[in-house]
């Protein structure tokens, strides 16, 4: 311990820590919800006398070091009544505070508390925290509240195709987002081809999106970090809710196992479209004499589980678990009496596809001393795709009997084992230091196919049994970081950090030192100006051919030919808080990205990683833009207005790896304008309404605009990549909630309409030719396909 302290002291010295040995004392403790005992993340602790404050960390722990004096502490959190404490600080003091949830709706009563990490006063920029309560109020496709789709409504974040939860942040690709669930990466964040995310909003406590100026504790992706935290569980009494929607039902139960000591939180979600179509299939099987059995369907499910145990005020243990799968299955048996009842033909097809994540983490929080907080995590995350197809035919006649059977099994996966330690240290009044280390063993299982076939004719049998595919690949990633929030007087605050990572794979190693910096200049209590810089590295790529998320998409590591991607991002912005009610921000950014990969013209993966290096090109890209956000998170009316002007371009001009003939072309999701307007209004405890309107410049596509004849073949001339823009996208979603108090809880009816004015937004376009045989003419048309036009949905939930 002494050694640790010495090391940290040395580090502080290096960062210019001068008043280290002044007579300071520390107030520390946990901030919690008074009703549920749930820890509060990023809650504010502010001393009005000294003007200093901190925010609680990801585990609800805070530590505020102040000079010996009387203090007037104010504890506040969005949606909670503030709590104030006055005392003479003449020794280190532990103070756990429970905040009361604010059920009052009048804005004049309470001012919105300021998030001291990302608000006007914080050094962090390009970061948005969206309250989960607000996300739940938004109208949703099929009534499925979706965390990632809510993030798409923020400035700098673009959705992919219609209805998908894919994210393109500040000109980056969909695989450049680090999505963390309780600090553990989730590789496949989508269900149903990307139309839903894996995050069940009932299980989630907090969502924070980092788009730039990344704190040093994050690394491994170029474009964004989505930090999703699960609820710990109510430590007072058992509560829960269940909901029934058009496509899924959800159940969430939380409560104490041992009161105020051990809690659980469990959430389940499952879709039931497969169950609903079962009767139709049974009817089909009944009415068609050839069909003997017919069952098929698709479903996905999620299970979130969290156990928390408090050993003492200093030690807590958490176990987080997420398991979710998508599944497609089919079982079809047909029989046919072809010529006579003696000739009998039987056929069977069985499909069994399953893909999904398993994420688990065991976390130990230990308060070493009031100024030093340690979090140690052991985690496991895995994404796997299993596909099984089995087909068999048999033919029986009086003279012969033949059987044929073929089976194909495909398996691919990626899994990580991680050990991690994070320290939060507040050595004095001016420094908040975070440091940590992480070691991860990645195992890539790019895909093994097992194939077997059997043919039997009377007493002759032929059999094939084989397996092939790429060998598993393991790599080791280590990471160290240190960051310090330094207060340089009342106006200036700095966040300096270093992130170092090593990646070892196939006897090769890559190293990367990534400096991070942030500066906040406070003009007054309402205005501030911020600057940020971050360099990021990424060692893995997602091989995907399509705009939708397919289970066959594969994660692959860097190789000797494919270098790690890296980016540098510069950002600056003005931040303003109007009467403590509405936060405004205007940010500009410029990001360069190197060693990006793009698929060569015509390259196709579709589940195979074999030879993938030769199907991609390496190049660079840059993105820049301006983002405006006006956000009101508190009161009867909440919501935000977001506008983004952006440009994202690519240049692939390396010898032999040219794309677009080595000329600049727009990135696939380059969009000039993006507007999102969301609003929720609570009329009373019984009724609230919400609306979302989005407008975006159309997506890019590559279209050959000229056709020509060469060497007697018709060819298409494509002048440049992504040369065609779909028509602009816009959509209005509406939602209304009716709440009613019942004997044991509150019931809510939710009616949502997705795309309320039935706008036909482009999903894709294609050309169609109509031939008129009579006058031998041809008519060519450009056709647009749209999906999700006017989707109403109804949802019932009951909270107890």
């Amino acid at each position: 311990m002494r050694h640790l302290n010495k090391t940290l002291l040395l580090l502080c010295g290096l960062t210019g820590l001068s008043p280290l040995f002044a007579r300071n004392y520390t107030v520390s403790g946990y901030l919690r919800d008074a009703a549920t005992g749930e820890t509060l993340i990023s809650a504010t602790v502010y001393d009005r006398h000294s003007g200093r404050g901190v925010t609680s960390n990801l585990y609800g722990f805070y530590s505020l070091t102040l000079p010996e004096d009387s203090v007037y502490l104010e504890f506040s959190y969005l949606g909670y009544l503030p709590h104030r404490e006055t005392f003479l600080l003449d020794s280190d003091r532990t103070l756990h505070v429970a905040l009361q949830s604010n059920t009052l709706l009048e804005e004049v009563v309470i001012e919105a508390p300021e998030n001291r990490e990302i608000g006007v006063r914080g050094t962090q920029m390009s970061t948005v925290a969206v309250p989960v309560g607000q996300i739940k109020q938004l109208p949703a496709l099929f009534g499925e509240v979706d965390v990632l789709k809510a993030l798409q409504l923020l400035p700098g974040v673009q959705g992919g195709i219609e209805g998908s939860s894919g994210m393109y942040v500040r000109g980056g690709g969909p695989d450049e987002n680090l999505v963390l669930l309780d600090g553990v990466p989730v590789y496949n964040v989508n269900h149903a081809g990307g139309f839903f995310s894996v995050f069940n909003a009932d299980a989630i406590k907090n969502v924070t999106l980092y788009k730039g100026s990344f704190p040093a504790r994050f690394g491994g992706r170029l474009s964004s970090v989505v930090d999703v935290r699960m609820n710990d569980g109510n430590d007072k009494e058992i509560h829960g809710n269940f909901s029934v929607g058009l496509i899924s039902s959800k159940l969430n139960v939380e409560g104490p196992i041992v009161k105020e000591s051990t809690t659980f939180n469990v959430s389940l979600r499952r879709t039931y479209s497969d169950l609903l179509v079962k009767p139709a299939m049974a009817y089909l099987a009944m009415t068609d004499p050839e069909v003997r059995k017919f069952s098929a369907g698709y479903y996905f499910y999620d299970l979130n589980l969290k156990l928390a145990h408090k050993f003492s005020d200093r030690d807590r243990l958490y176990l987080s678990l997420y398991s979710g799968d998508d599944a497609i299955y089919a079982n079809v048996r047909t029989s046919d009496y072809t010529t006579s009842e003696e000739d009998h033909y039987l056929s069977r097809l069985k499909l069994d596809w399953k893909w999904g994540n398993l994420v688990s983490a065991l976390r130990w929080n230990h308060v070493i001393n009031p100024r030093l907080f340690l979090n140690t995590t052991a985690s496991y995350t895995r994404y796997r795709f299993n596909m099984g197809i089995n087909a068999s035919d048999s033919y029986t006649s009086p003279s012969e009997h033949t059987e044929e059977e073929a089976a194909l099994v495909f398996h691919s996966a990626i899994e990580d084992y991680t050990l991690k330690a994070d320290l939060d240290w507040q050595p004095d009044t001016r420094h908040e230091i975070k440091a940590g280390a992480n070691i991860t063993r990645h195992t890539f299982k790019p895909g093994i196919t097992a194939l077997s076939a059997r043919e039997r004719t009377d007493d002759v049998t032929a059999r094939i049994d084989t397996s092939y595919g790429d060998a598993n690949l393991s790599s080791l990633e280590t990471m160290f970081y240190i960051e310090d929030n330094i207060e340089l007087g009342p106006f200036v605050k700095l966040n300096l950090g270093l992130h170092h990572s090593d990646y070892f794979i196939s006897r090769r190693s890559y190293h990367s030192l990534q400096p991070r910096a942030g500066l906040r200049w406070l003009f007054d209590d309402a205005w501030s100006f911020k600057l940020g810089y971050a360099r990021m590295n990424q060692y893995i790529h997602l091989l995907s051919n399509s705009s939708i998320s397919l289970p066959t998409d594969l994660w692959v590591p860097v190789t000797r030919q494919i270098q790690p991607m890296f980016s540098q991002q510069y950002s600056g912005g003005l931040f303003y808080q109007w009467r403590n009610k509405v936060d405004f921000s205007l940010e500009a950014y410029y990001k360069t990205m190197d060693n990006l990969i793009e698929y060569k013209d015509g390259a196709s993966f579709m589940g195979s990683s074999t030879g993938w290096e030769e199907k991609v090109c390496m190049g660079r890209g840059w993105a820049y833009g301006v983002e405006f956000l006006a956000q009101k998170s508190f009161g009867r009316t909440t919501g935000w207005l977001a506008y983004t002007w952006a440009r994202s371009e690519r240049l692939f001009d390396r010898l032999g790896q040219e794309l677009n003939w080595g000329k600049v072309f727009p990135a696939k999701y380059d969009r000039r304008h993006d507007i999102s307007l969301t609003a929720s209004h609570k009329f009373s405890d019984r009724i609230d309404v919400s609306a979302t309107w989005v407008y975006a410049t159309g997506n890019c596509a590559t279209l050959g605009l000229q056709e020509y004849l060469l060497e007697d073949q018709q060819l298409t001339y494509i002048e440049s990549r992504n040369n065609y823009r779909y028509q602009d996208y816009h959509r209005l979603d509406l939602g209304i909630n009716f709440h009613k108090k019942k004997k044991h809880g509150i019931q809510t009816w939710n009616l949502s309409i997705y795309n309320a004015y039935n706008q036909n937004n482009p999903f894709f376009v294609y050309t169609e030719s109509e031939y008129d045989a009579a006058d031998r003419t041809v008519r060519k048309k450009l056709m647009q396909v749209s999906i999700f036009t006017f989707i109403p949905s109804l949802n019932y939930s009951y909270k107890f």
């Binding site: 094939i464 051919n545 196709s604 030879g611 020509y708 396909v785 036009t789």
Partner: protein
């Protein structure tokens, strides 16, 4: 019930909205792309120069025909000499009396009343100085990779015995063939052949290789050759020099076939004598098997002429051929992939003004005898051929 009736129109309207066609014709809103002049010409040494001009069409133009351009003023300039006008020959080509020579710098300019003028330049490429079978051609080998057993009732069993380093494809054969089985046995042989050529130093060179097989279906006295294109395996083209510059991973080749020609550059062997090792595959039919003890090949002893063409390409021709091959592949498999941009070096228009020069080399092989083998389970664990399947060369 009566009350419900008034809701029916509303429900119907709602349902209509939900089921509105999600597909509609849209207007092309961007500036229209104007037709361009398409120029097609490949200059080969010692072959009269021919140029074809046609007109491209907008992809939504209501026609499925292309029109040749016969009223253009097409001028050819050689080595910066005054341009001469090329004449249209009514067969769709513009011709000049000029015969290209290696190293000539050619310039083409075409103008028509209705389309923007085009311009293109190319240098006539020289072929490789030497392209001959290598020393090891005498020991080239063949071995079975696939066998098709056709049963009397037309059931076919395919047994694949290939194995690569990366894709470990090992098929276990357990076909138990009864004495009564009759049918055709086809063997798919791989031949490893070696050729030598000299690459020119100090400049990037581009090559295309194609192999054609001519199988004598007649007799030795009265030969009758059938021509067929031979599929080259992807990465089947290897050079000894190439390996020295690549890591082990590259060597882990895959064994899927690629159709058509094979193109490569001299990036790794500039200026060297290159030993090309190519693998081609060829199907050989054997006789109907009536008794497993007597497997008699009907085509045994037949001769196969393999003609290998090594074409030196100009850079433009190479890029054009590469992109065109990718486009052909993409049209078959590219449901989700990016469309392919086909290379063009015609300024102001579309098309290709390239140059190519062919060199030929050939070997004569004899179809191997079908050796006696058992039908107990066999696991082929090595790529190397077994001794009895070595092709005998004349």
């Amino acid at each position: 019930m009566l009350d419900m009736k008034k809701y029916i129109p509303c429900l119907a309207a709602l349902l209509d909205l939900c089921l509105l066609s999600c597909e509609k014709e849209i207007r092309f809103r961007q500036p229209l792309s104007e037709p361009k002049l398409v120029l097609e010409c490949v200059a080969r040494p010692d072959t009269a120069l021919r140029v074809r001009l046609s007109r491209s069409r907008f992809f939504l133009e209501n026609t499925d025909r292309f029109s040749l351009v016969n009223d253009a003023e097409l001028k050819l300039s050689v080595n910066d000499a005054p341009a001469v006008r090329m004449a249209y020959d009514d067969a769709g080509w513009y011709e000049a009396s000029y015969i290209p020579r290696c190293g000539d710098r050619l310039s083409l300019e075409a103008q028509t009343p209705s389309l923007p003028p085009v311009h293109a330049e190319e240098t006539v490429i020289e072929g490789v100085s030497r392209f001959v079978p290598g020393d090891s051609v005498s020991s080239c080998s063949a071995f079975p990779v696939q066998e098709y057993y056709v049963y009397p009732d037309d059931h076919v069993t395919c047994i694949d015995v290939r194995k690569g380093n990366t894709n470990e494809l090992v098929f276990v054969e357990s076909a138990r063939m009864p004495d009564s089985v009759a049918g055709v046995v086809t063997r798919d042989y791989r031949y490893k052949l070696e050729f030598v050529f000299q690459d020119r130093p100090g400049r990037p060179d581009y090559y295309q290789m194609s192999v054609k097989a001519y199988e004598n279906a007649g007799t030795e006295d009265n030969p009758c050759f059938y021509e067929s294109s031979v599929q080259l395996e992807s990465r089947s083209l290897k050079t000894s020099n190439y390996y020295q510059n690549l890591d082990d991973e590259y060597e882990e080749s895959q064994w899927w076939y690629t159709a058509g020609d094979c193109r490569f550059t001299d990036e790794f062997f500039d200026g060297e004598e290159v030993r090309l090792s190519i693998v081609v595959n060829h199907l050989c039919d054997y006789d109907v098997v009536t008794d497993r003890a007597e497997l008699i090949p009907v085509s045994s002893g037949r001769q196969i002429r393999l003609v290998v063409t090594l074409t030196s390409l100009s850079e433009s021709s190479y890029l054009f051929s590469q992109s065109r091959a990718s486009a052909a592949e993409e049209s078959l498999t590219g449901l989700f992939s990016e469309p392919v941009q086909i290379f063009s070096n015609i300024s102001g228009g579309i098309g290709i003004f390239g140059s190519a020069c062919d060199r030929y080399s050939e070997v004569l092989l004899t179809t191997p005898n079908f050796s006696q083998r058992t039908f107990d389970p066999i696991i082929y664990t090595d790529y190397l051929p077994s001794a009895e399947n070595i092709v005998s060369l004349p």
